[in-house]
Amino acid sequence: MADRSTTTLDKVNASLARRYAKERRFRRMGLVAIATGLLFVLLLFTSIISNGYSAFWQTHVKLDITFNAEQLGIGDARDFEALSSADYAALVRASLKEIFPEVRERKERRKLYKMISTGAPLLLREMLINDPSLVGSHHAIWLPADDDIDMLVKGQIDRTLPESARRLNDQVVGWVDRLTENGVVAQLFNTTFFTAGDSREPELAGIGGAITGSFYALLVTLLLAFPIGVATAIYLEEFAPKNRWTDLIEININNLAAVPSIVFGLLGLALFINIAGLPRSAPLVGGLVLTLMTLPTIIIASRAALKSVPPSIREAAIGIGASKMQTVFHHVLPQALPGMLTGTIIGMAQALGETAPLLMIGMVAFVVDIPGGPLDPSTALPVQIFLWADSPERAFVERTSAAIMVLLAFLISMNLLAVLLRKKFERRW
């Protein structure tokens, strides 16, 4: 007897080391999994931020510009017509010629002029139109540099590469170095990036138009999805009889939440554009599609919020003679509203980041103008990111990352708001 019990115990004891090792391995695997996940978060954020932070500054060159009426080709005219069609590029050219008098060859000259952004003459034009009395005067003006120069100054173009492998040859690099030595090259805050619409020139491109488009689309979504979502939740939770019809609606909503977003895009294309004849590329259509997508999120969150209101509240209201409708709207709804708002904000955040359905309804157009209303053609912020990600210029990589940073900032602040709302109003009954 004694012998046999010791042998069992021995067996157990002998296996213990192996089992504990297994236990440790298992634990380590769990830790590794979490570390992997966190590593991905870190990798994602560092790669985006390290690529994108520099886009918030843009290289400018200070040029001495003389608003010479002769060079502008306007003679004595000072009216809007003459000023708006004047040759402002000539001013920039003249100023550059003054700095680099030794550059004489036409081909080289052209390279020289290309150092300054093609948006610079427009800037001068705006200045002069705002204040025609500037004609004849002399000013030192910071003008945006071309994107290649910008990349060179920011160190994104490798100077050690052989000349043929670089986008800029040694001569241009020499010019930039000379300008830098003169102290007329500086990195200024890139306001264009936040105010401008799209452009083929990276230094002139901005996310202003895309943000406006996203804003209109989200406004439509909010105005439609919140009332409809809340009404649906109230009906299903408080009024609907428990029958097959409500079961069907419920299953439907759960499934709708998991339908791929691109299918909603197909729906939008077929229904809103082909059948209803709404304009393509309009934030209104984008908003309608996003409404259908966010509805399930809002409904599910609102139902959960309604469910968490204890029945005693309803019973008390009904007990003192309130009707069912009064009970819901005067007593239950106010208690559930914070939860509904939280769900709505999270749904809006999802809608803001959604891209695929917007591609289907034509919000991928190249839109330079900032949309003035929900019917103007426009893009949305994530679509702008998609468009820029395809562009070959190095400067667009930087701007794409910066646009992603702006998008993530919006998303994170929306989610934080939702968390704060929940913390502030959460009530345990």
């Binding site: 634990r27 590794v32 999994a33 994602l44 499934n255 791929p260 299918v263 197909l266 399930p296 289907m360």
Partner: protein
């Protein structure tokens, strides 16, 4: 935007009607005390406002949807024979398009003849008349119905009950929108798909091994086969989804196990939200990350080993998609693992099992249906995911299982077929809808099964 203004006017009128109704309830002749009223005066106000607004809104909706067809009908009947002579219906609709473009000041396709110009003017004129008539009729309708409502107000009027039943109807109508949306998806996609299958046989689509949707402009054009076999697309989708699940399931599941079984409270409070950040990042960001960081990394490291990898490899897209799905799997598994009753764990530990043995032999088997449901949901996500593959996967429909090759997916093809110009009579555009239908059906089946599995499991311990 005339109808917007009209709706705003209606809202103002409704506010006025609300005030009128409420005042009238207070000042009803022969009313001694407010308590003689059946309902509170606010309900009389709402009652009048409903009378004012609802019929007018319904009329406005119907009118807006039928005005343009009627105008077009009138216009087509009046068109001079010089324009319409000998035209097929398709050409006629082109002419109509030109007229409308002309009327809106857009670019037209052909030359502008004086007859077209006159027709465009007439179109504008008819639309103007229609809109003017619409405003007048709608506003007079509100006045009539409001006066009705106003007249009905009496001490005996059960205003609250009536208002509440209208509200109830509104709630019911809202709840059907979800159903209408699903029906809309099915019909929109089905309708175009049927047109596609009229041109391309269903079997060619489902079992064809070749996908090249270009349609020949000339008969002898190279590569103009116009083959619509969906197998390579589904193979590509499955390859990428499989890679994604290979990343997401082990990492997500182990993370969930560690967080719910081992982790200290502090690690849980920090690590969980940090992991869930991954779920909130838009897919377009993942796509950019895949194309900018992961794909070059894979290509370079493959080159180190002397292997040739495409810069649009399935591996890159799958890997990044897997990262996206980690929090999805981990939070779903976390829920089901937490739902396993503590008594099961206690019993196992009391028998001398180590913690990991308990997890592997007791907790996981008990939670398995829920975990499987979560994995299925994640798989349906992976199949329907668009932006990552559009940005990181290729366009060429290769039938391969090599993860370093470039493959294309269903969603990528839908996007490439539909972005840009669309002609809704060519199989190229319609193919996107057929693909969409397949995608919808596949994900629907996965979701239904997954939700079933999850729900069934939940019932066990409750």
């Amino acid at each position: 935007m005339q109808s917007t203004t009209l709706i705003l006017i209606l809202l103002v009128l409704m506010a006025v009607a609300f005030q009128l109704g409420r005042r009238r309830a207070y000042n009803l002749p022969g009313l001694g005390c407010i308590c003689d009223l059946n309902s509170l005066p606010i309900y009389h106000g709402l009652y009048t406002a409903i009378w004012c607004g609802i019929p007018a809104l319904i009329l406005l909706g119907i009118w807006s949807s039928i005005q343009t067809p009627i105008v077009i009908n009138l216009l087509m009947n009046d068109l001079p024979a010089a324009i319409t002579a000998g035209l097929t219906p398709a050409e006629l609709s082109l002419v109509l398009n030109d007229i409308r473009n002309l009327a809106y000041g857009n670019i037209t396709s052909g030359e502008i003849s004086p007859e077209l110009m006159a027709a465009a003017d007439r179109y504008n004129q008819l639309q103007q008349i229609g809109l003017a008539a619409q405003s007048i009729v709608v506003i007079s309708l509100t006045l009539i119905t409001t006066s009705f409502g106003w007249r009905f107000i009496s001490p005996e009027l059960r205003a609250r009950n009536k208002v509440e039943s209208v509200l109830r109807w509104l709630l019911l109508i809202s709840s059907t929108i979800a159903i209408l949306c699903t029906l809309g998806i099915i019909f929109a996609v089905l309708f175009e798909s049927v047109r596609f299958f009229e041109m391309i046989p269903l079997t060619d689509f489902l079992f064809g091994l070749q996908w090249s949707p270009q349609i020949a402009i000339r008969a002898d054009q190279v590569g103009s086969s116009g083959a619509f076999g969906a197998i390579p697309l589904f193979a590509g989708t499955l390859l990428i989804s499989f890679i994604a699940m290979l990343v997401a399931v082990p990492v997500g599941l182990m993370a969930a196990i560690y967080l719910s079984e081992y982790a200290s409270q502090r690690l849980r409070t920090y690590a969980k939200p940090l992991l869930e950040i991954l779920a909130g990042i838009p897919t377009v960001v993942y796509g950019f990350f895949a194309a900018l960081v992961v794909a070059p990394m894979i290509r370079d490291s493959a080159a180190q080993f002397g292997v040739d990898a495409s810069s649009e490899s399935a591996l890159a897209a799958g890997l990044v998609m897997g990262i996206m799905l980690i929090p999805f799997i981990s939070s779903l598994s976390d829920d089901v693992i937490n739902a396993v009753p503590q008594a099961l764990r206690d019993a196992s530990l009391a028998l001398g099992a180590t913690h990991s043995e308990t997890i592997r032999q007791v907790v996981i088997p008990a939670a398995l249906p829920g975990i499987v449901g979560g994995v299925l949901l994640a798989a349906s996500r992976a199949i329907g995911e668009t932006m990552i593959v559009v940005m990181a996967a290729g366009l060429s429909a290769n039938l391969t299982v090599n993860p370093l090759d470039s493959v294309t997916t269903v969603t990528v093809q839908i996007v490439t077929l539909l972005v840009g110009d669309q002609e809704f009579d060519s199989p190229k555009t319609l193919a996107a809808f057929a693909l969409g239908l397949l995608l919808f059906l596949v994900t629907l089946v996965l979701n239904v099964v997954a939700l079933r599995v999850v729900r069934k499991y939940r019932e066990v311990y409750e």
